[in-house]
C-alpha cells in the first residue's frame, strides 16, 4: 500500500506551525505536529530577579499576554504567601475576561469561518448566506467582530495602560484601583459587546442562550425562523451539514485548571485555588469529573528537540535545554505535557465541561468529541464570560476606595517556589518558578498549545491534535480543508516570528 507524506500549510493561522501527515489511500495514518520555533523564555528568566517575570513573560504571546501576566503574578504570590485585596483580583479577572472574549471572537470570525468559503463548498445551499456573514474583511459577522474586539480590549487599557504586553499586575495587587469613571466605562464596553452578540450572533438574549441545556433544546432554538441568518445559526448549521460534528475528536479527557480566581478567597495559604468556573478533569467516556491536581502534571521530551531525560518530569523538576537533532525521530520544539500520563485536551470546551455546562456536556455525551463542538464551545464561552464580566464589574463597583495593593514585606522573594495556573484563551496555562538567593533558579511554562499540540511522549502516545486527525479520510489531498477545520478549531498558537511586507510570494522561516 502506497504511503505518502503531506506538509500542510497552516500559515493563515500561525507562521511557525507545520502539520505533517502520512496518508494511505487518502486516510491519515500518522501525524506530526511541528513547532518550528524555539521559545527560550525559560532560559531568559534564569538568574534574573523574580519580579522580572512580570515584564518578560507577557511577551511570550501577543494574544494572551494578560494570561501570562496573571499566571506569573500568582506564582510570585504563592511563593511569598502574599495577601491580595479583592479589588485587585476583580480587576485581574476583568482584564483576563476581556482578553479571552477578544480571542474567542477573533478566532471564530477571523480564523475559523473563512474555511466555510472554500471552493469545495461553492455549491452548498448555504453558500450565499455564509458569504454574507463570514467573507473575510467583508462579511457582517467578521466586521462586527473586528469592531467589538477592539472595544472590549479597552478594559485592559483602562487598568493596564496598553494591550498586549502590559505589566500592571504586581505581587500583592495591581498598579491602580478602580474609580467611578472606570466602572461606567467598563459597563459600556461590556454592554456594547453583549448587544452585538445578542443582535448579530445569537438573535436572542444572552441569558436565553446560556439557559439552553441539551442538544435537542439547542436544535429547536436554532430552528426558530427569527434567527435563521444569525451568525450562530449559520455557524452551527453549516458546520454540521459538512460533517464537522463527526470528525476531529482526539483525546477524550479534558483538562481545566479553573477560570478566574475568587476575589474573596485568593491569598495565603494559596493552596487549592477557588475559581469562578471550577477546575477539573472531565472524561468523555462516562461523563465523570475528577479534581484537578497540579502535582500530576509532567512534561516529556522524547520526541522534542530538547536534551533527553527519561519519562516525564514535573515542571518543578523540569528543564528546557535545546538540543536540535535534525534527521532523528524528534520533530518539534514543543514538549509533551501529560496529566498523570494521560493525553488531554484543554481549551474552552474543557473549561465549560469542568465547570458543569449542561449543554456542552449533553452534546459531548450525544455526539462525542468533535470539531464543531470544540468551536461552538468557544462561542459559548464568550457568551458566558460576558455574563461573568457583568458580575465582576458590579462587584468592583462595590469595592471602590478599598485597597488595590499591599506592599510585599522586605525579602519576600529571596527563596522558595511557587506556581500559577489560569485558563488562558486557549486553555490551561501554568508557570512554575523557583528562587534561590533572590534570583530565579528555574522557570517552566506550560502553555495551552503545548498541551494540545504536543508530540508523541516517552510511551509513544500521540498528542491531542495528532490523535484528532489520525484516521481522517481526506476528500482531496490537494486541498485538505477538513484537516484545516480540525486544527483551527483548537485556535493554534505557537510564538510569532519574522514578519515582513511581501509581494505575495510565500516564505517560511524557522529554526
Amino acid at each position: 500500500m502506497a504511503r505518502k507524506t503531506l506538509g500542510i500549510d497552516l500559515n493563515r493561522v500561525e507562521g511557525d506551525l507545520e502539520f505533517e501527515v502520512d496518508l494511505e489511500d487518502g486516510r491519515i495514518v500518522g501525524a506530526r505536529c511541528i513547532g518550528t520555533l524555539f521559545r527560550g523564555f525559560e532560559q531568559l528568566l534564569v538568574d534574573r530577579a523574580p519580579r522580572d517575570s512580570l515584564v518578560i513573560t507577557p511577551r511570550v504571546c501577543g494574544i494572551c499576554g494578560t494570561a501570562h501576566l496573571y499566571t506569573a503574578v500568582l506564582a510570585l504570590e504563592r511563593l511569598a504567601q502574599l495577601p491580595v485585596p479583592p479589588q485587585a483580583t476583580l480587576i485581574r479577572n476583568l482584564c483576563l475576561m476581556a482578553e479571552n472574549v477578544q480571542s474567542d471572537l477573533r478566532q471564530t470570525f477571523l480564523f475559523f469561518v473563512p474555511d466555510f468559503l472554500n471552493p469545495r463548498y461553492g455549491d452548498h445551499p448555504m453558500a450565499a448566506a455564509v458569504a454574507r456573514a463570514f467573507q473575510p474583511m467583508k462579511g457582517s459577522a467578521v466586521l462586527g467582530a473586528l469592531g467589538v474586539t477592539r472595544r472590549i480590549l479597552q478594559v485592559v487599557a483602562i487598568f493596564g495602560g496598553q494591550w498586549p504586553h502590559s505589566s500592571y499586575m504586581l505581587p500583592g495587587g495591581v498598579t491602580r484601583g478602580a474609580n467611578a469613571r472606570d466602572i461606567v466605562d467598563c459597563r459600556e464596553l461590556v454592554e456594547s459587546t453583549v448587544a452585538w452578540l445578542e443582535d448579530d450572533v445569537l438573535g436572542d438574549r444572552l441569558e436565553a442562550f446560556l439557559a439552553l441545556d441539551t442538544l435537542a433544546a439547542l436544535e429547536r432554538w436554532l430552528a426558530e425562523p427569527v434567527r435563521a441568518e444569525r451568525a450562530m445559526t449559520l455557524f452551527c448549521n453549516f458546520s454540521r451539514s459538512v460533517g464537522l460534528d463527526r470528525i476531529g475528536g482526539g483525546a477524550r479527557t479534558f483538562l481545566s485548571g479553573g477560570s478566574y480566581h475568587d476575589p474573596d478567597s485568593w491569598g495565603p495559604p494559596c493552596g487549592e485555588q477557588k475559581t469562578l468556573l471550577a477546575a477539573g478533569i472531565f472524561e468523555a467516556d462516562g461523563g465523570t469529573l475528577a479534581p484537578f491536581d497540579p502535582d500530576r502534571i509532567t512534561e516529556h521530551v522524547r520526541h522534542s528537540w530538547f536534551r533527553s531525560y527519561a519519562g516525564g518530569r514535573h515542571p518543578f523538576e523540569g528543564e528546557t535545554v535545546p538540543d536540535y537533532q535534525p534527521g532523528s525521530d524528534r520533530y518539534t520544539w514543543a514538549k509533551a505535557p501529560r496529566y498523570g500520563e494521560q493525553v488531554v485536551e484543554t481549551g474552552p470546551l474543557a473549561e465549560l465541561l469542568a465547570a458543569g455546562d449542561a449543554l456542552c456536556r449533553d452534546i459531548l455525551a450525544t455526539l462525542g468529541p468533535n470539531t464543531w463542538l470544540r468551536q461552538f464551545a468557544r462561542l459559548r464561552r464568550a457568551a458566558r464570560t460576558l455574563a461573568l464580566m457583568r458580575g465582576q464589574v458590579d462587584a468592583l463597583a462595590r469595592r471602590i476606595g478599598e485597597p488595590h495593593y499591599r506592599h510585599p514585606p522586605e525579602g519576600a522573594f529571596e527563596q522558595g517556589e511557587g506556581f500559577g495556573i489560569v485558563q488562558a484563551a486557549r486553555g490551561t496555562l501554568g508557570h512554575w518558578m523557583q528562587v534561590e538567593d533572590g534570583r530565579i533558579s528555574r522557570y517552566q511554562i506550560v502553555t495551552p498549545t503545548a498541551w494540545n499540540a504536543s508530540p508523541k511522549d516517552s510511551a509513544g502516545r500521540h498528542g491531542h491534535w495528532e490523535q484528532s486527525v489520525i484516521g481522517l479520510q481526506l476528500a482531496d489531498e490537494a486541498d485538505p480543508v477538513e484537516l484545516g477545520h480540525i486544527v483551527r478549531s483548537h485556535d493554534p498558537c505557537l510564538v510569532c516570528t519574522v514578519h515582513f511586507a511581501g509581494s505575495g510570494r510565500r516564505f517560511r522561516y524557522g529554526v
Binding site: 500559515n11 493563515r12 493561522v13 500561525e14 507562521g15 511557525d16 520555533l37 501577543g62 494574544i63 477573533r106 477571523l110 480564523f111 474583511m137 467583508k138 467578521v142 466586521l143 473586528l146 469592531g147 474586539t149 477592539r150 480590549l153 494591550w163 498586549p164 498558537c493 510569532c496 516570528t497 519574522v498 514578519h499 515582513f500 511586507a501 511581501g502 509581494s503 505575495g504 510570494r505 510565500r506 516564505f507 517560511r508 522561516y509 524557522g510 529554526v511
Partner: protein
C-alpha cells in the same frame, strides 16, 4: 483641525533585516517632525496594531519588503501593492493588516508604504545586512518628504 499623520514602523530587530522599521523609528526619534505627526513603533502587524491607523488622516508605514526589487532597493508603494497573504503569525502581516484597517475603520486613513527590500531575514540573528543598513538615510529622507 490640523491634518494628523501617523508614522508606523513595523519590525523586530532580533530578526536581521526585520529590524529595519525599528531602525527608522530610532532615526526619526532624533529628528524634529512636523506638527501633527505622531511617530509609532509596532513590533508585529497583528490586529492589535489597528489602533495605530485610527484617529488620523494619513499613515506612512515603514517596513522591510520582500519581492519588490534588488536587496537594499527603496520603494514607495500604495497600500494596495502589499499582498494580503504575506507575513506570518495569527493571520497577521502588514498586507493583511492594511486590508483589515480598510474594513474595520469607518474612516480609514490614506496609507503609503515606504520600505527597503530585504537581503537577509534570519530569525534571532540581530543586525541589518549591509545593503539594507545603507538604505537607512534614503528611507528616512523619503519619510520626511512624505510628511511635508
Amino acid at each position: 483641525m490640523a491634518s494628523r499623520t501617523h508614522v508606523v514602523c513595523f519590525g523586530n530587530e532580533l530578526h536581521a533585516d526585520d529590524g529595519f522599521g525599528p531602525a527608522v523609528h530610532a532615526a526619526l526619534s532624533r529628528t524634529k517632525l512636523p506638527e501633527g505627526v505622531r511617530l509609532m513603533r509596532a513590533d508585529a502587524a497583528s490586529p492589535a496594531a489597528i489602533d495605530c491607523f485610527d484617529a488620523c488622516d494619513a499613515v506612512v508605514v515603514v517596513d522591510v519588503l520582500g519581492g519588490f526589487g534588488e536587496p537594499g532597493s527603496v520603494h514607495c508603494l500604495p497600500a494596495e501593492a502589499v499582498a494580503a497573504e504575506c507575513g506570518a503569525g495569527h493571520g497577521a502581516g502588514v498586507g493583511r493588516l492594511l486590508e483589515t484597517v480598510r474594513a474595520a475603520l469607518p474612516r480609514p486613513p490614506r496609507v503609503r508604504v515606504i520600505g527597503v527590500e530585504a537581503a537577509r531575514l534570519d530569525a534571532f540573528r540581530p543586525g541589518l545586512s549591509a545593503p539594507v543598513a545603507a538604505a537607512l538615510p534614503q528611507v528616512t529622507r523619503a519619510v520626511m518628504e512624505a510628511l511635508t
